[in-house]
């Protein structure tokens, strides 16, 4: 059905596409060339490669990584740990809850589902202040520190990510035929076994979607960790560390841009590896 495009149209379209791509990629490009320079070189000429050298990159990287205000590896590890544990728990608990909600058509399961859906509109700002005081009080009361602790923040992410996770996974559970569960039940599979042996493996595509959506959000989140862990607390995630670092090195662009580069690299590497899954996951999450 497609007619052949005129050469002039094709060239115009290509030209527009390239210009837009230059615009979206320019900041990344600027970061990449400027981490090769020292502070004076960056200010003197930020758009050319004048004064760029590989040795300077090594110097910048060493300066930032070894900086005690930034403590890159520690922040990186903390972020990775928090993200990974939260994602595993969300997928596991979210799947369990979605299955129970979907397979038990009672007033209760309906009410729980509606509350989850309705809660997705609640902005973080309205709960953040009481959240901190609640976590402080609960932590003091039961003797488990909830603030400035990794378990506490993982707990919070399970709470905040729960609604969206259940929403997407419920949609997937609905597509699994109930006959499958009945057959397993007749073959002697226990009720909880049905979930772990039959349903959860079938949910895989949606679990991937949910993991991507939650992962992007949790990894990049700034507000929640900055409030719960504190700006200068012992435990820091990468965005909090970048913010604290920039605050203490105003206008030292060699250090700031190198820190930004280090903070961007993990996400970009993951994107290059799982580009297709990430892009389709983001779309699916939105369309549902």
């Amino acid at each position: 059905m497609k007619t052949k495009l005129k050469t002039s149209t094709f060239v115009t379209i290509m030209a527009i596409a390239v210009v837009v791509a230059l615009y979206t990629l320019a900041p990344f490009f600027l970061v990449c060339i400027n981490v090769l320079k020292n502070a004076n070189g960056i200010v003197a000429d930020p758009v050319s490669l004048a004064g760029a050298s590989f040795n300077q990159l090594v110097t910048n990287l060493t300066n930032v990584v070894n900086n005690s205000n930034f403590s890159f590896w520690f922040a990186f590890g903390t972020s990775a740990l928090i993200t990974i544990i939260s994602l595993i728990l969300l997928a596991l608990f979210g799947g369990m809850a979605a299955w129970v909600i979907c397979r038990n058509k009672t007033a209760w399961s309906n009410a729980i589902y509606m509350v989850f859906i309705a809660s997705m509109i609640i902005p973080f700002q309205v709960v953040m202040l009481p959240l901190i005081s609640t976590f402080r009080d609960v932590g003091n009361f039961v003797g488990i520190p909830m603030l400035q602790s990794i378990p506490g923040i993982v707990f919070a992410y399970c709470g905040f990510g729960g609604a969206m996770t259940v929403f997407i996974l419920t949609g997937m559970v609905k597509t699994v035929p109930y006959d499958l569960e009945e057959a397993a039940s007749i073959d002697g599979c226990s009720y909880e076994g049905i979930y772990f042996r039959i349903i959860f493996p079938l949910l895989r595509p949606s679990v991937v979607t949910v993991t991507i959506l939650n992962g992007m959000w949790i990894w990049n989140d700034y507000l929640l960790p900055s409030l719960m862990l504190g700006q200068n607390g012992k435990v820091k995630t990468l965005p909090v560390a970048v913010q604290a670092f920039v605050g203490s090195y105003v206008k030292q662009w060699d250090l700031i841009l190198t820190a930004a580069l280090l903070a961007m690299i993990p996400m970009i590497v993951i994107f290059l590896i799982a580009q297709r899954q990430i892009m389709s996951g983001m779309v699916e999450g939105a369309v549902k």
Binding site: T24, L25, N34, L89, I121, P123, F124, I144
Partner: protein
Amino acid sequence: MDSVNPMKKAASLLLLVAGVALLGASLAMDCMGGGGAIYQYRGAVLIIGIVSFFLGLYLFPTMTHHRDIVNVIFLFPLLFTFGVTVIIPLVLGIFYSMTDWTGIRYTQFVGLANYAQMFHEVSFLWSLLITVLFVVFNMVLVNLVGFALALLCTSRLKGVGFFRAAYFLPNLIGGIVLGYVWQFVFNNVLVKVTGASLLTKTSSAFAAIIIVYIWQYAGYIMLIYVNGLVTVPGDVLEAAAIDGANAFTTLIRIKIPMIASTITICTFLTLTSAFKQFDVNMALTNGTGSVMDFMGQYLSNGTQMLALNIYNTAISKNSYALGQAKAVLFFVILACVSLVQVRISNSKEVEL
């Protein structure tokens, strides 16, 4: 099915009793305060108690109620975390907004005084105004740019995969990091073209935030539009072409009506995310910018959006109750606007 296994029954009862005992013990310690060396382990006692209780419940030998027990155990973790992190703070937050809460305690109920106070605060009204402006600009611009990019990416382009990835890439980076990168771009690179940095004047700084926001978000919206556009059936387009429709007519008469639901999704997403914008605002300008005369006052928070205003009121100025009242208003506005938007879009979809 086998009859009740006595071993299993004994284990179940033992675990249930142990669980209840440990729970009781830890609660007793919580309430009575520091007594004895075990006090510091009350958290661990509590957790072991909960686990033991649920394990006992799970092993409880009953045929009729096993399903219900498993249902409860499966729902509990998520409902518990959800309740503690969302529902309790929401209810408390609405209550605190009507007291003189300091972030730690409150002494008296003040009714709607906090709400009255924030409407007398000119800087807050300014934040409200520019947030509305920001949302409107973004909703229109991000959707237009995203849609145009989607058309571009569904046309017969060489290397579509590369372009899609390139447009989407900014969306991966957290707002804080890209805010600083763009601060560099505006202050050190673009300054050579613009003369003075865009971030120095309030109006141009506001434009700068919009530019960064489009840069970050348009690629994502584009992906959703692409997803919608590829569902437009080929034979419909073919029929239109045979009937003599040119590219523009096809776009207006066929493509746009057929992806109405996608447009709804995209406007909703841009609306709510622009409304909640915080990270870029904080990293790029931190809300600064002078306003010479707004309702007869000089303001220094020229680019401070609502979310940042709430944060600063509570955290920097330490007025927790006032900040919380603003947050509740923020929530109410967001809820109303989203509901209205979905209503309007849905009715449009039906018509088409």
